[in-house]
């Protein structure tokens, strides 16, 4: 009889309860939407924050990374969290007695992990380089400038017979000197300054400036070429480091570090603390904001439900008075209202979840350009929040229902 009474009452009082249902539906909808966004925030915002650069650097141990070993980053489980990466090979090059770094990398991958960088070109030919903005200014480089780089060991060198002193930079091309040193590279005394004299072979690289690169960091003082160009040079030690754009929210850091260690023997993983701290701070602030908004929404809807229920109790006071006159106890009345409200709240929570999911999907698409997938947890949370809200909001109206005196309500005079 109890559920028959509850269902008939819901059906009979649907007009009176409609406002409450709508308030709870709205609450559930907003809570679901906000929770869906909050739960998905680390992923969506994480992806968004990856626009600000790689958050990890993997440095090779004694053995450089090979192309083959780096393919592990594209396989599961690492592929789940590594959104993008760029590997770097580097060699030191000299121009006008100054040492510069020539980075060999996949420029498209570089652009992906550092989208803010400005690169004149993403497709370089074998003998082309991009010059950092600062270095280009210092050296007066223009597009098309042929560089007479001196690399310590180059691939297709134009041999220049000279050796230089590390201390005084004197170049010895004296035949005697060469004879004395022999043809093998090594260290001997400089004829000029009598200090260490490094015997190295020097070669012309014949590289051409194909464009420029700028990003406001170290890259402004470096040269960039395609990976294969640099890897082809004899002095190249292979990929020495890899910048990783990692979605940290998807995998605990310990597990990620463990997997990296297992796959890249001897490598060191360094996190970009500046970025990870900023990300952490931003995430917690946005989460807090969303949670506060959820609380405000719940409080507002709670007040609406209280007001609606108070109105419904007033309208149903004769019915309540009659039930009491028939012998209904306080617990009978409380249970009836609680059951009615719970049914409404759970239905509102269930329907509100789907509405909220739609709203969250719109929000996520509009703000983060990501999709939000359905979650059973959020559905349960939506239903639970509607239920708790309804029960808390019903305390005052139910108390006023219990105060109804049948003698007063059913007075016939």
């Amino acid at each position: 009889m109890f559920w028959r009474l509850v269902l008939k009452s819901l059906n009979g009082n649907k007009a009176k309860l409609l406002a409450g249902f709508l308030a709870l539906l709205l609450a559930a909808l907003l809570v679901s939407a906000l929770l869906a966004v909050v739960f998905d925030l680390p992923n969506s915002l994480g992806k968004e924050l990856r626009q600000f650069g790689a958050n990890y650097t993997l440095k090779a141990g004694r053995k450089p990374f090979s192309e083959e070993s780096l393919k592990k980053l594209k396989k599961k489980p690492l592929s789940d969290v590594v959104l993008a990466y760029a590997s770097f090979a580097e060699i030191k090059i000299k121009k006008d007695f100054k040492t510069y770094t020539l980075i060999g990398t996949d420029l498209k991958a570089l652009k992906k992990i550092s989208p803010w960088m400005r690169l004149s070109s993403l497709n370089l030919r074998e003998n082309e380089v991009l010059a950092g903005q600062d270095v280009a200014e210092v050296l007066g480089l223009k597009k098309g400038t042929e560089l007479d780089f001196t690399s310590f060991i180059a691939k297709t060198p134009k041999r220049i017979a000279s050796n230089n002193c590390i201390s005084c930079h004197a170049i010895s091309s004296s035949p005697n000197h060469k004879e004395r040193l022999g043809k093998k590279p090594g260290i001997s005394k400089c004829l000029e300054c009598h200090d260490r004299h490094e015997v190295r072979e020097r070669f012309n690289s014949n590289l051409v400036v194909a464009g420029f690169i700028s990003g406001g960091g170290d890259e402004d003082g470096q040269f960039f070429a395609d990976s294969q160009t640099v890897l082809g040079m004899k002095s190249s030690a292979g990929y020495r480091s890899v910048s990783l754009s990692v979605l940290t929210s998807k995998m605990p850091q310990k597990r990620f570090v463990g997997i990296i260690k297992a796959n890249f023997d001897g490598a060191r993983l360094q996190s970009n603390k500046q970025i990870s701290q900023a990300e952490k701070g931003l995430l917690s602030k946005i989460k807090l904001l969303m949670i506060l908004m959820t609380i405000v929404v719940l409080m507002t809807c709670g007040l609406s439900v209280t007001s609606m229920l108070s109105g419904a109790v007033m309208e149903r006071r004769t019915e309540i008075g009659l039930m009491k006159a028939l012998g209904a106890s306080h617990s009978n009345i409380t249970l009836l209202f609680a059951a009615e409200l719970s049914t409404i709240a759970l239905s509102a929570g269930f329907l509100g979840y789907f509405g909220g999911l739609g709203l969250a999907a719109l929000l996520a698409q509009a703000v983060f350009k990501v999709t939000i997938s359905p979650s059973l947890n959020i559905m349960l949370l939506s239903m639970a929040s509607a239920l708790i809200l309804a029960l808390v909001a019903s305390v005052t109206p139910i108390r006023s229902a219990l105060r109804i005196e049948p003698a007063v309500t059913l007075r016939g005079e």
Partner: protein
């Protein structure tokens, strides 16, 4: 016959200036029909509400079957009411979203166990076998009041309290209701207390008590 209800010095004051009952002394025998007569505002409904455990007096005592009803807690009073008293009001108070049958079953539900067959029998007894599934809005005033009587009887109460039960009904329906009450009276195990302002109705019972201004003016046997 043994007294079922013993009322002593019953006073009901709403505030210092307004007293609905001013020291009522009254004994009501078991299985009798007592009619309380009085003009509007005389205190007859207040007296009925206190006997029906719907209201509490300001002072005085109400012994029902040897139990002091005024000293019972709210919960025990509700329990006492559902076990011993059947109420019929002037207005046909029914739960609008329940059918006639369910309205009767509601009283069973709050009393003990719901028995649909018994509820149907109660409605058949008041001549509503064909209206079981009708809602109050689909019933006439007389039919609604008959549902109320069936509901009042369903738990077989010792006392039936009827407050102007035909106040809103036409003559034909009123006569049907009184015939029904007379049938109950003839069964001999219900104590009926009926409040009315119609002197003719008083003649249907055993005793007429006239109340005015919160006091008993006369207490006499009904002359048939």
């Amino acid at each position: 016959m043994e007294n079922l209800i013993e009322i002593n010095q019953l006073v009901k004051e709403y505030d210092r200036k307004t007293a609905a009952l001013k020291g009522i002394d009254l004994n009501i025998e078991q299985a009798s029909w007592t009619t309380i007569l009085g003009p509007s505002g005389s205190g007859k409904s207040t007296l009925l509400n206190i006997i029906g455990c719907l209201d509490r007096p300001s002072s005085g005592s109400v012994l029902i079957g040897g139990i002091e009803a005024t000293r019972l807690s709210s919960g025990k009073l509700a329990s006492f009411r559902r076990d011993n008293i059947g109420l019929v009001f002037q207005q046909q108070y029914l739960v609008g979203y329940l059918s006639a049958l369910e309205n009767v079953m509601l009283a069973q539900y709050y009393h003990s166990v719901v028995d649909e067959r018994q509820a149907k029998e109660a409605l058949e007894r008041v001549g509503l076998a064909h209206r079981l599934e009708h809602r109050p809005s689909q019933l006439s005033g007389g039919e609604q009041q008959r549902v109320c009587i069936a509901r009042a009887l369903i738990n077989d109460p010792k006392i039936i309290l009827a407050d102007e039960p035909t106040g809103n009904l036409d003559r034909e329906n009123s006569e049907n209701i009184y015939m029904l009450l007379q049938e109950l009276r003839s069964e001999g195990h219900h104590t009926i207390i009926l409040v009315t302002h119609d002197e003719k109705v008083g003649k249907l019972g055993d005793r007429i008590i006239k109340i005015a201004d919160g006091k008993i003016q006369s207490d006499e046997k009904a002359s048939r």
